[in-house]
Amino acid sequence: MSATSWGWLVLAFPLAGTLINGFGFKRLRGNTAGWIGTAAIGLAFVAAIGTLIALQGHDPQHRQLVSSLYNYASTVGIDAKMSILVDPLSVWMILIVTGISTLIHLYSISYMEEDRGFNRYFAYLNFFVFAMLLLVLAANFLLLIAGWAFVTAASYLLISYWYRRRTATSAGLKSFVINVVGDVGLVLGTYFIFKHTGTLEMLGTFSATAHGAFGAHGDGDLTAACLLLLVGAVAKSAQIPLHTWLPDAMEGPTPVSALIHAATMVTAGVYLIARMHPLFELAPAAQDAGAAIGCATLLVAATIALTQTDIKRVIAYSTMSQIGYMIMGVSVGAYAAGMFHLMTHAFFKALLFMGAGSIIGAMAGEQSLDKMGGFRKALPFTFACFIIGGLALSGIPPFSGFFSKDEILLVTGELGGWHWALYVLGYIGAFMTAIYTFRMIFRAFFGDPVAEAQELEEGHLHHAEHPTNPATGEVEDTDVGFPGPHHAIAERSLPMKVSMSLLAVGAIGAGLIQIPEVDDVITKFLEPSFAGSALYTVRTKDGLLVFGLILGTLLGLAGIAIAYRVWVSEPGTAGRVRARFGALYELFVNKWYFDELIDAAVVRPALAAGRFARDVFEPRVVDETLVGGTSGIVRASSAAVRAIQSGFVRYYAALLVLGVAAIGFYFLLQS
C-alpha cells in the first residue's frame, strides 16, 4: 500500500472511533467506549508505522507525497482540495501523536472509570486526535486551518469536560477565546501568502516563494505573513503573551492535560513554524521575533513554576517553558533539534502528568503541593516515574531530555551574534527547570507522609467525605458533569501501569536515537522535508558541543542539589528565601501579572463596550431611532391614510368621483 493510503488510514481510524463513540454514547456500557477509542488510536499508530515504512521505501528526493481525496471547490483562483501531505516531518508528527495518544487513552480507561460521562470523554478524545492528525497531515492551508480550529474546539470540549464546574467552563472559554485570536492570525497570514503565491497548497506555496513570488528578500508582506502565522503559533503553543490559557486548562482531567497540553496540541505551533520554514527563512524579522518570544517564555514560565503550589500547574508551566525551547529552536533553524525535543518532551511530560494524576488520585482529588508529602513509600511506582520524568526534564544524561535540549542550544550558540543571548538564557532556564522539577518531586514525595499517604501505606485509598473542587473548595457531587467517585492510582491499575511504563522507557531511551557524534538518525530522516533550507545543517563545531553537554549536565545536577537542600535537607530555607526576595516572589507567584494585564487591557474595555452597547446604543439608537423611528413613520402615515376610511359612504363616493375626474383629466391632457 502506498504511503498516502496509509496516511488516509491514519486519519480514518480516529474519525471512526469518534463516530462510534459519539453516536453510541448512550448505548455503550462500561468501559467499551474506552477500549474502542484506544483501539482506534492504536490502529492509527499501526497505520502511522505503515506510512513510515512505505515512505522510507521511496528514495530521499521523492519523499514529499501529496494525495487528494476530494475537490471542494475549483473556482477561479482557489484550489481547495482535501489533500494530505505525507513527508518525513508529518510522519514524525503522526507517529508521536498516535503513539502517545494510544498510551494516554489506555491510561484514561482506568483514570476515568466510573465517571458518568465516560463515553463522551472518549468521543472527544478521539475527535481531538483526529483533529491533530488532520492538522499535521494537511497539504494545504485550508485543511491546516480546519484542523487548527478543530483542535481548538476539541481542547475547549475537553477542558470544560466537567462542565458543572464553573472554573472548568471558564477555563474552557478562556482557552477558546485566546486560541481564536491565534486562529485570526493564522487566517490572515494565509491570506497574505495566498495573495502573493496564488495557491493554497503548501508545496506550491513553497516553490512559488522560492521562485520569488514575494519579491525581494525580506519583503514586507512576507514578514507580515510570517508574523501573523507566528501569532497563531504563539496562541496555540501558549507562548507569551497568549499563554494565560494553559495553566487554567489544567481544569481538565489529567489525561487531557497530558495529551493536549503537553504532548500534542501545544506542539502544533512548533510544527507550524517548522513546516513553514521556507517562508520564515526569507523573513528574518519573524524568525528573530519567534526566537525572542520562545526565549522570553522559557524564562518567565520557569520563574513562575518555581512558586506554584498546584502540582498540575507546575507541570503546565514546565510545558510552556519547554515549548519555548522548541519555538526558539525552530525559529533559529534548528529544525531537527526542535522536532527531537518535541518527541522526547512528549514522552517525559506525558509521564509526569500521568504520575501527577496518580498522586492526585491518592489525594482524592486534591492538587495542592502544600497538602502533599512523603508519598515515597505509598506510591513507589509513581515515584519512580516521577524521578525518571524529572531527570529527563532536567536534562541529565543519559535520559532523553539531555540530548534534545542541548542540541537546540548548540545551534543557537553556533549561529553567533545576538543568538549568544539565547544560548545563555537557555542554560539559565535549564538550571531553573531542574530546580522547580525537583522542588515538585521533593515536596510531594519526601518529608513526613501526610494523612493520605499514611492511609495508603496501610493499604487504604483515601476518599474525601464530599468531593470538592480543588481550586475553590466548593462542594460537588459525582454525577455527570463532575468527576466520578473513582480515584485511580497507578499502583492499583494495570492500564495506568502499562502506559506509564512504556512512557518511562521512552523517557529514558528516546534520546539515544540521536546521540551527538554517534548517529544522526533524526536529522537524516527529516532532511527531505527541509531540503532547500539554508539553515538545516549537520553539526560542525565540536568544542562547543562538548562544552554545552558538560554545562548542561552540571547545571542540571546543581539544580537538583539546590532543590534538595532547600526542600529536603533544610526545610526552612524556602520560607527564608521567600522573605528575602519578597517582591520577586510576589511577581512570580502572581504569574507576572499577565492575567491582570490582559484583564485591564482587553477584558475591561470589552465589557465596557458591551455595557455601552446595552445601555446606550441599544435603547437609544436601535430601539428609539431605528426601530421606533421606522415604526413611528409607518404608524403616522397609516394614521393619515386611515382618516380616509371614515365610514361615511358619501365621502367615499366623493372620492370616487374625484378619482374618476382626475383620471379623465389626465387622459384628456394626454390627447
Binding site: F648, V657, G664, F667, L668
Partner: protein
C-alpha cells in the same frame, strides 16, 4: 319632427334626473325616476332601439321601480329634516350645504370632462345620424335582431346574466327574510341613535303624506 321629439325626451330625462336629486321625499324621487325612465325610452326609440326601449319600460320602469315603491312604502318617510341642512356634518366636518356645494363642483368637473371626452373626440361619426338604416323585420333594433345576437354572439353573456339574476334573487330573499315569525318590538338590538331618529310607522299613508317634520 324628430328634433321636437328629441327635445321633449331630453327635457323629460333631465327634468326627471333633477327631480330625483333634489326632491326631499323619497317617494317623489322614485316617481321622478320613473318619468326619467320613460323619457329615456323615448330617446331610445329615436335611436332605433325598439326592443331596448320596450325592455326599459316594461322591466326597468315596470318591475324595478315597482320594487322600489314597495320598499319606500315599507321603510317609510325618512326624508331629511330642515335642520339637517344647517347642521354640521356628523364628525364636525363640513355642513350639508358645503357638502352639496362640493358635490356639485365635483360632478360639474366630471360633466365637463365627459363632454369634452365625448364631443371633442376625433370621431366624426357623432356628427352624423348614425349608420345607415334599412327597415325590415329583422333589421337593427328589432327583437329578432336582438334575439339573434343574444343567442349567437352573446350567448355566454346571456347565460351569465341569467345566473346573476338567480344569485341576486336568492340574495335578496336571504337578506330581507324574517327570522322565526313576525317581528315584534323586542327583536334586534335597539340602537341608541334610534331614539333621536324619526320614528317610522311603515304604512304607505304616512310614507306619502307629510313633508319633513
Amino acid at each position: 319632427m324628430s328634433a321636437v321629439v328629441f327635445f321633449i325626451g331630453a327635457a323629460g330625462a333631465i327634468a326627471g334626473a333633477v327631480g330625483v336629486v333634489m326632491l326631499r321625499n323619497p317617494f317623489y324621487s322614485v316617481l321622478a325616476l320613473v318619468a326619467h325612465l320613460v323619457s329615456l325610452a323615448v330617446l331610445f326609440l329615436l335611436l332605433r332601439a325598439e326592443f331596448v326601449a320596450a325592455v326599459q319600460v316594461v322591466v326597468y320602469a315596470g318591475a324595478v321601480m315597482v320594487l322600489y315603491v314597495f320598499v319606500v312604502a315599507y321603510v317609510g318617510d325618512q326624508s331629511e329634516g330642515i335642520g339637517a341642512r344647517l347642521r354640521a356634518g356628523p364628525t364636525g366636518g363640513p355642513s350639508a350645504a358645503a357638502l352639496r356645494l362640493g358635490g356639485a363642483v365635483l360632478a360639474g368637473a366630471l360633466l365637463i370632462e365627459l363632454l369634452i371626452a365625448l364631443l371633442g373626440t376625433g370621431l366624426k361619426a357623432i356628427g352624423t345620424d348614425g349608420a345607415g338604416y334599412a327597415p325590415g323585420p329583422r333589421t337593427y333594433g328589432t327583437p329578432a335582431y336582438i334575439g339573434n345576437l343574444l343567442l349567437t354572439r352573446f350567448l355566454l353573456v346571456f347565460e351569465v346574466a341569467s345566473f346573476l339574476l338567480l344569485v341576486a334573487a336568492v340574495g335578496g330573499v336571504v337578506l330581507a327574510r324574517r327570522r322565526g315569525g313576525l317581528e315584534d318590538d323586542a327583536d334586534g338590538p335597539a340602537a341608541p341613535l334610534n331614539v333621536i331618529a324619526p320614528a317610522s310607522t311603515g304604512t304607505m299613508v304616512e310614507g306619502i303624506g307629510t313633508r319633513a317634520r
